[in-house]
């Protein structure tokens, strides 16, 4: 019944619309509008151009400066983010200036030079000087923007500092996994054929590499504040993207092609909670490359700790091998001994395991 009413209403509205259309057309013919070169409607259009310009600019300023319920700027929490944001806003200034100026000219001229009986347009086919000037100005402005952007880009994408924390970020449908190098600070090798979801070897750690034995996995990505963090990024099945807006960080995770991104976080999670006034604030790692059905829910939490807390957390983690003794089957015979020590398989006090493998390493 309700649907029927809607259908009837739509039909009626269409019928009324059609009638109005016919009537105005006939009136137009009667008035002789079709004979005239330009009707009164021309003035109306010109006026609407100005109305649009004014209303549009008003809306633009209103919404850009606080007219929205929420701020659309994500608070920055990385060193390079400060730099990129600076140039983001400089670019914003330049482009907004050009945008506003050209829109004013476009609609302003449309209004000002609307058709008037007896007027003649100016025959003005070209002006070489003017054209050279307005080719040169954008060229120079753009050159400045590009060169500064390029400098930042080179810094961001340059080699990570020696002392960086190296962490592996691994994307798969539909989650992220994080692998830490363990006490030896060396990520072990990987091989996608070693992936073994049953024994929890999600990222294909290759246990024939000694450095892999003490690697541990994190469900959340912990990073220390103020230290360079070097993410080594891989993917298992399709392309994903490691994206975090607060850090102004993004890099695709590509199957078969390891990628990387390094950055320096500048605010701990606790500090961000205080700054945003949101006690539940978390840094969220976002998948930002279409990767299938649940792409929109693929995420992970990043925790930025004070360096001391980070060290403490780091040292408390257990090697994957320890949590999943079934993986021992993947360790070659000649490394079993070492594995027992570096993954601390006999002892529950993980600190001792760390100490052991450290001395192990320094002797190499």
């Amino acid at each position: 019944m309700f649907n029927l009413i809607i259908v009837v209403a739509i039909v009626l509205i269409l019928a009324i619309g059609y009638t109005i259309f016919r009537v105005t057309t006939l009136v137009g013919i009667a008035k002789g509008d079709t004979q005239k070169r330009v009707t009164g409607a021309n003035k109306v259009q010109a006026a609407l151009c100005v109305v649009f310009l004014v209303a549009g600019l008003f809306g633009f300023f209103y919404y850009s400066f606080g007219g929205l319920d929420d701020s659309f700027i994500q608070p920055i929490a990385s060193e390079h983010g400060v730099e990129t944001d600076k140039w983001f806003w400089i670019t914003m200034g330049v482009t907004c200036f050009v945008f506003i100026l050209t829109q004013i000219l476009l609609f302003g001229f449309s209004f000002k030079y609307q058709y008037k009986e007896g007027n003649q347009a100016k025959f003005y086919p070209h002006n070489d000087k003017l054209e050279i000037v307005w080719t040169a100005i954008p060229a120079v402005v753009l050159a400045i923007l590009v060169i500064s952007g390029w400098k930042i880009w080179v810094d961001i994408t340059g080699p990570a500092p020696e002392e960086s924390e190296v962490i592996e970020v691994y994307g798969y449908q539909y989650a992220f996994a994080f692998r830490y190098p363990g006490a030896d600070k060396q990520l072990g090798d990987y091989d996608y054929r070693k992936i073994d979801p049953i024994n929890n070897n999600q990222v294909g750690i290759d246990y024939s590499d000694k450095a892999a034995l003490d690697d541990f996995m994190g469900r959340e990505l912990h990073v220390p504040k103020g230290k360079p963090v070097h993410l080594k990024i891989r993917a298992r099945d399709v392309i994903h993207s490691v994206y975090q807006p607060n850090f102004r960080l993004q890099m695709n995770a590509v199957p078969g092609l390891p990628t990387r991104f390094w950055f320096v976080p500048t605010k701990t999670t606790a500090e961000m909670r205080a700054e945003t006034g949101n006690p539940d604030f978390n840094y969220e790692l976002v998948c930002n490359k279409i990767c299938g059905k649940a792409h929109f829910s693929m995420k992970a939490i990043i925790v930025v700790d004070e360096p001391e807390d980070y060290e403490k957390w780091y040292n408390e983690q257990e090697a994957l091998l320890k949590q999943n003794p079934g993986l021992m089957a993947q360790v070659p015979d000649n490394l079993r001994e070492v594995a027992i020590i570096s993954a601390d398989l006999e002892n529950n006090d993980s600190n001792q395991g760390v100490a052991n493998s450290e001395s192990e390493n320094s002797s190499l």
Partner: protein, 623 residues
């Protein structure tokens, strides 16, 4: 093709006109027609059909984004099992809708619908030719497009749904049915469909290029070509050089999907097993795709800019400002469009050094684009502007071209792109600069050349309403997307509820959706106007816009061969509007300089002395 050939063909065209014209069967005349005007209309109608489908898809997923809690039960009669028991849109089908929307809009509406319609319609009419160089190939071009459309349409009804990996169909997602259902049969049909589409584009493009080079009427030198023709010509060249690369990308993908090769696949573990493929690179696909993909942006945009140049000049009653600069900037854009493709790949894992190179190249391309915008604005300056609906749509196009163009400066800067890539900022950018701008070019063209296509006028008032609702609507839909893009909202997301960071702006998203629905609805005003005017519109006068180009010298309903008598000769450029001293505010291209001594410039007076004015009669005798 040699000169004699062309003349022969002209002769046949003549004969056609005089003798066989009335004997053409319905099928020959309207279906398997080789007449460029009929083919143009076929492209246009097919394009309108696809635009409605593509637009309707965007409305469905905008409903999902704007009203996440709404039940879509009422769509069940159309979408069937893609609406689940709870009345929610299937998550994977959401991606399929986005993918099909993008594919349809970019390829079927704005490539075929825009170039196909106007290159076909205007090239012969504006350069003074009886038809395309090869009418048969031209017909084939349409029917390949038709076949491609049918295949894509069928893919919508597959059990596993149409392709769903985004219109860019990046592998491995598009290569592995295990990763997403749409990569099963839907993807196969997508690829097959695109192969026919590419064939269609190439057949059309070869024809446009040949026709422009070889078949211009006497006096129509390249420096007297209307900017529309320049734009179509350059577009065809770009298409000819870039579409084959898409073909190769698709072909390798077909091999990977069906023959077990590893061009794009390496070290993949999916569905509980490790695939044997090793050594391929997904990045290779991206390079190949964007080698077409970026030029494609200009393939859809340049024809729209050409149409705008013509319409703005005509309706400002002024010559286009900087005719040569306009051609120069189009050539520059065409060239540069081939060496900027990797700006879509800054965070793909591309070598950062390459990223730097492509950043520099990308920002160079902004310069000729800026020049074009300035030239349009200067053309309006001191004009005597007549606001036809076509003129309004052209002004709207320039407005979008600027608003969408400036955000390219952010995205082309690789350091800034890190945070903007694949967010709604990109969606806002390309919808304005390429989607809406080109779409407005298409609409402007229809309003402007409708009288020539169908011999009748479209209703102006409906045109005005259509323009204002659409123009304001487009801004209301796409401008707010910048804000949520800066806030980091990722594109191709079914919902934003899973992230704290993206839980804001629900009102804004609702607002955008409402605006999108209204804008989409307003297009039916156009559709009504279009079909109504086709049959019941006011009969068009010979030259309704008092325009200079040659198409307005043909009869109201030009037959096969376009001009009943000889093809007019051209004596001047197409932009002699409001020339000082002239009686009228326009002097068409076929008026000899020697007949307009009162308005000639000095060098034109010189030319007029040596000008050989051709009497139409003599010409006809001469062949």
């Amino acid at each position: 093709m040699s000169v004699t050939d062309i003349q022969l063909q002209e002769n046949t065209a003549h004969d056609d006109h005089h003798d066989d014209h009335h004997e053409q069967s319905f099928i020959e005349k309207y279906i398997f027609s080789t007449d460029h005007k009929t083919i143009a209309k076929q492209f246009l109608i097919t394009g309108i059909f696809w635009a409605i489908i593509g637009g309707a898809f965007s409305v469905i997923f905008r409903l999902q984004l704007g009203f996440p809690d709404m039940t879509l039960e009422w769509l069940k009669p159309i979408l069937g099992k893609w609406i689940d028991e709870g009345g929610k849109l299937d998550q994977e089908f959401y991606l399929a809708l986005v993918t099909m929307h993008g594919t349809i809009m970019v390829f079927f509406v704005l490539t075929a619908g825009l170039s196909g319609t106007f290159s076909n319609f205007l090239i012969p009419l504006q350069i003074g030719a009886r038809d395309m160089a090869s009418g048969f190939m031209n017909m084939l071009s349409y029917w390949f497009f038709f076949l491609s459309s049918v295949i894509m349409f069928i893919s919508l009804f597959l059990e596993t749904g149409p392709a769903a990996g985004g219109w860019t169909i990046y592998p491995p997602l598009s290569a592995l049915p295990q990763a997403i259902q749409g990569s099963a049969g839907g993807m196969t049909l997508w690829l097959v469909s695109m192969v026919f589409f590419i064939a269609s584009t190439l057949l059309g493009g070869i024809n446009y290029i040949t026709t422009v080079i070889n078949m211009r009427t006497e006096g129509m030198s390249f420096s007297r070509l209307p900017l529309t023709i320049w734009a179509f010509f350059i577009t065809a060249v770009i298409g000819l050089l870039s579409f084959p690369v898409l073909f190769s990308a698709a072909l390798l993908l077909v091999f990977d999907r069906s023959l077990g090769t590893s061009f794009y696949l390496s070290e993949i573990f999916i569905g509980g097993e490790a695939l044997p493929n090793i050594g391929g690179s997904p990045i290779l696909y991206q390079h190949l795709f964007w080698f077409l993909g970026h030029p494609e942006v200009y393939i859809v945009l340049l024809p729209a800019l050409g149409i705008t140049s013509e319409i703005i000049s005509t309706n400002s009653r002024k010559p286009i400002f900087g005719y040569r600069a306009m051609i120069g900037s189009m050539l520059a854009i065409a060239f540069l469009s081939f060496i900027v493709w990797a700006h879509h790949m800054f965070v793909s894992g591309l070598n950062p050094f390459l990223g730097s190179i492509f950043m520099f190249l990308t920002l160079i391309i902004a310069v000729p684009s800026a020049v074009k915008a300035f030239n349009y604005i200067t053309t309006l300056w001191k004009g005597n502007i007549v606001f036809t609906p076509a003129m309004l749509f052209s002004i709207g196009l320039v407005s979008f071209f600027i608003s969408g163009g400036v955000t390219g400066i952010f995205l082309g800067n690789s350091a800034l792109d890190i945070n903007l890539h694949d967010t709604y900022f990109v969606v806002a950018h390309f919808h304005l600069v390429m989607g809406s701008a080109s779409f407005f070019g298409l609409l402007a063209g229809v309003y402007h050349w409708f009288p020539k296509m169908f011999g009748r006028m479209m209703d102006e008032k409906l045109g005005y309403i259509h323009f204002w609702v659409t123009f304001v609507g487009v801004y209301l839909v796409f401008f707010p997307l910048h804000y949520i893009g800066i806030a980091g909202f990722p594109r191709r997301y079914y919902a934003f509820t899973n992230f704290d960071a993206f839980s804001a702006f629900t009102d804004l998203n609702t607002f955008v959706s409402v605006a999108a629905i209204l804008t989409f609805g307003a297009q039916f005003i156009f559709i009504f106007n279009f079909f109504y005017s086709m049959f019941r519109g006011r009969k068009a006068p010979a030259n309704p816009w008092r325009s200079n180009t040659l198409e307005w010298t043909t009869p109201r309903n030009p037959g096969h061969g376009n001009w009943p008598g000889a093809i007019p000769k051209v004596y001047r450029w197409p932009y002699d509007y409001s020339k000082p001293g002239a009686e009228e505010d326009f002097i068409p291209q076929h008026i000899p300089l020697s007949q307009t001594p009162e308005s000639n410039l000095e060098e034109e007076n010189e030319l007029a002395k040596t000008e050989e004015v051709r009497e139409s009669k003599n010409v006809e005798d001469s062949h």
